[in-house]
Homo-oligomer: 118 residues x 2
DNA sequence: CATAGTGTACTATGTGACTAGTACACTATG
DNA sequence: CATAGTGTACTAGTCACATAGTACACTATG
């Protein structure tokens, strides 16, 4: 596979985003088992430790549970996923607004641009 | 002064953003002279070399012109500034949309959140 | 012409984030 | 109990960033 990653953001972070996205999109279901760290490392073309960091991060966010010798699984706590969804939305929006502010744009101005974009 | 900087982004980059913002906000006018590298370094509490990188970056973006022995000035090319404004807006929007996509949100969904935020 | 104030260039150093390689610990399975 | 497949811990190397110090080139000013 050997995914292509953006260079302005750590690989592990992009993978976390991707997995979160897959969960939110329903491509990964509650209780699903993720690929093993080695397997996923080969799939994405990165190092095992990078994948481990991804899984570690996900577990710290309480959206996965890992069992030694068995694997890493998406939490079955649906409430947690819903919360995650809200959190990410809010954080995304907040970061966006911060950037807007720093560069001197108004929210209304940006909303117009967004509407007209693909 | 000793500004406080976010840790998730290089200082020099944040300073570039800040200056661009000041220009777009009209706090810095066309033809205005920026503080000297040494002066600005003291103001912001960073190293001279960091400021130089900021000024270098700004010049590479064609939004400042530097004259040896005199200082660094905002370009008088109004068209360039307008272009800058459009570029930054578009890039900001594009990045936002990319993040949205990666995390599995829809544009419409996010627009609602943005509208309801401060 | 001397001086002080500009930007610029260069080398060196320290630090932290990121990634990689390797070895270890645990668990299921036969 | 042996083996293969899990996650995990540790060490090391690379790179960007920020800093520090020094020296140089140019310009205005007196």
């Amino acid at each position: 596979m050997t995914m292509d990653f953006s260079r302005d953001k750590p690989i592990y972070s992009q993978l976390v985003d991707r997995i979160c996205g897959d969960i939110l999109r329903g491509k990964l279901l509650l209780g699903d088992r993720l690929p093993s760290v080695r397997e996923y490392a080969v799939e994405t073309g990165v190092n095992v430790n990078t994948v481990q960091r991804v899984y570690k991060e996900l577990e710290a966010m309480n959206i996965t549970e890992t069992k030694r010798g068995q694997g890493t699984f998406i939490t079955t706590n649906e409430e947690r996923i819903e919360l995650l969804r809200e959190d990410m939305k809010n954080q995304l929006a907040a970061n966006f607004l911060t950037s807007i502010e720093a560069l001197g744009f108004s929210k209304e101005e940006m909303l117009v641009v967004l509407k007209n974009k693909a």
